[in-house]
Symmetry: C2
Subunit: 427 residues, 2 copies
């Protein structure tokens, strides 16, 4: 045991916090001195004075809008060309394996579009609110900014996230299996405020939301949800929405599937029944084994994924291993996350990192030691409604394998003795 | 009053939520139809189908690392060339007036450097921990990533933020008067964990932190603070630190002045007394009127600023006006923010937007109606220690005007009848 540190006032800190994690000084020194990854002359590395301390750094003026380090060029959104990339319709995936915490940087937040990315001059932006209302209204962006606003951190997940996993483990990396999710802080007007401004007529039960993109993405939304927690948002992580996220304004529908968060929001129509638009009939319904289809499957059920280690983030070294991942639930807060090292036979509760927010991603960790044994890593989210993330097989038993939507099954990563990680299934 | 909206279950929502904010349908329709800002042919705007709905948007592949809209090019960090811009030493300011919520996007987070921006290959990164410890250690970046980690949202404020305001209102915009603050989510290892790994010797009371940049920024930090809540952080807002923020690792010293958050962190030395380094003697001490200097003024006291309206964000229109700003305290949580429209004669409590986190920025709002009258806008933060943000004059009475540091006085913006806003003082 190390000598207990002393506070300035002489009191020893609580003993429980004084465990040592790594193998000790020798192990660390060896790692530092003999690290195969080091590229500079060791004489130039600490404890010696490195080259970058001996010369003035880049000081050529302010960078008006900063960018990541040139050593982070691999941290990018990626697509799967054979899966979706056409000029009309595309999807990019968040590099979950390269991120930590709960906030997704705007430049790395996945995006899916069905008709290209609309480019809208904010001066020309209009939002029409009509239908079963007392006063049909058209809002400019400046109008929206004059209403009282709120800021909320929410996850957004595409209904098709993990869709390829219905038919077995296919894509080797959580960026591809689970990367259609992101979590940012939105700034916007509660939709309820706009509806109150227009005056909703008795008998109204649904709202149609329509995008201004070429696909005119159109979805029906229950009025109760609109009055509850939806926003018309124009900012993400403080700055204005990115073009691919619906600049200058989008719908935020907390906990509901991503395509209902209509981007480039152009029109809201209040009615008494759903509209049966293309994207809620031919698409975004879940075809079951018997040929019937589930529809209006709005809520994204509790789900989690281990982001590191994962196929794109192998285990580099024996010894202490931090297992880390994300969990979320469209029903509310994540109450617990369990982690298994042996494919679901034994579970332990993961450490959940604060803050735990309603309908937002939470970050979880499980620290362990790895000595080269084969692992089958799994995580399982439980939300505050009591819902437990199911196995893929349990989901298939009920829903079949026809659908590409709403797969929130437990994911398995196999860690091989050499530290490589692959997407597998266990039963 | 509008007709009360009905929930699908027939129950009317709470009456209190049904107030209308804007002038009504007529006013809005006029604003939409006659808005001088509109640039497109009105026939192309909603309710008609706009051009961007009739043509396919930009779909030429995925953007690996996304950027803001071309219409947001004015949202940038700025410098004040006559103030600081040399090749050796520079500072850029966060565009607070263009942001909302509490998260600062990484590309817009202010930065100050004293010897240029060091460029460090993460494979060559080393952190040395030595001095009064049982086991001197050198950590690689991979070593740091193997320790249990946490994620925390904290504000970082430069000690010299608002420094020019000691001698009166000078810079016309909150970007320049208050823009040396940002707030992001950090991922890192508790410094306590590293100290426990090394084993702190009895009698130790201070830590020296040294940067690997050409300035070798060096500060003394009380051991009690190091053991409390400091982090060695390598990520901000999920992705790796930006180069100008200390890539690949920096110190996080919650609530303490920014230059103690040593960037490009190279060395930590444990000792029994402060080191009296240049940046805590010749600089970053507060020269008083009588020639004595306050030193070790670590904690950033409670402070707030109205970010909109402000000199760079004028009032565009009469009617509903959202007053918005940021507040923070190095002592803990912000408990309350008051807003005055008349230069501090009358105060009302602002609405504080959740979440309220320890040593993080909070966003506050005060909604009002403006009819062209002259306003003297002020905000005043109160933290959970009971500390009340003082007036500038109260500060000057105690501290004189020799210092450029630790000015947390109440800021005043004058709103003129034409909506222009300027930095003024009232007494």
């Amino acid at each position: 045991m190390p000598t207990p540190p002393r506070h300035p006032d002489g009191a020893a800190p609580a003993r429980a916090s004084r465990r040592r994690f790594l193998a000790g000084a020798a192990g660390l020194a060896a790692s530092a001195a003999g690290g195969g990854a080091a590229q500079a002359d060791p004489n130039n590395l600490p404890p010696n004075v490195p080259a970058w301390t001996r010369a003035l750094g880049d000081g050529a003026g302010v960078r008006p809008y900063g960018q990541p380090s040139k050593y982070e060029k691999h941290v990018i959104r990626r697509d799967v060309p054979w899966l979706t990339a056409t000029r009309e319709s595309s999807v990019s995936f968040t590099p979950l394996h390269e991120l930590d915490g709960i906030i997704t940087p705007n430049g790395l937040a996945f995006e899916r579009h069905h008709g290209g990315i609309a480019e809208i001059d904010p001066a020309d932006y209009r939002l029409m609110l009509h239908g079963m209302v007392d006063r049909p209204l058209i809002f400019t962006l400046a109008d929206l900014k004059r209403f009282p606003r709120v800021n909320k951190i929410y996850f957004l997940e595409c209904a098709a996230n993990s869709g390829m996993e219905w038919r077995g483990a296919q894509l080797n990396g959580c960026q591809f299996t689970h990367g259609m999710v992101h979590c940012v802080q939105y700034t916007g007007v509660p939709l309820r405020t706009l509806l109150d401004e227009a005056g909703v007529k008795p008998g109204a039960k649904w709202i149609l939301a329509e995008g201004a993109d070429a696909a005119a993405m159109t979805r029906s939304l229950p009025l109760a949800k609109a009055l509850d927690d939806c926003l018309v948002a124009y900012r993400m992580n403080g700055e204005m929405l990115r073009p691919e996220q619906g600049y200058p304004a989008r719908l935020v529908v907390p906990g509901f599937e991503g395509n209902m968060w209509v981007k480039w929001l152009r029109r809201l129509k209040v009615g008494d029944a759903p509209w049966a638009a293309r994207e809620e009939t031919a698409k975004y319904t879940d075809l079951l084994a018997d040929g019937r289809a589930r529809r209006h499957t709005f809520v994204m059920d509790a789900k989690s994924v281990i982001t590191s280690p994962s196929p794109q983030a192998r285990v580099a070294q024996k010894g202490l291993l931090v297992i880390s991942g994300l969990a979320w639930s469209g029903r509310g807060k994540v109450a617990r996350v369990d982690v298994s090292l042996d494919g679901g036979r034994n579970w332990r509760a993961a450490r959940i990192d604060a803050p735990v927010l309603d309908k937002a991603c939470v970050r979880f960790y499980a620290e362990t030691a790895w000595h080269g044994e084969e692992l089958f890593l799994q995580s399982r989210a439980i939300d505050d409604s009591g819902y437990v993330q199911p196995t893929k097989d349990a989901l298939r038993k009920i829903r079949g394998v026809n659908s590409i939507y709403h797969n929130n099954g437990i994911q398995t990563w196999r860690v091989a003795p050499d530290g490589e990680v692959e997407n597998v299934e266990v039963s």
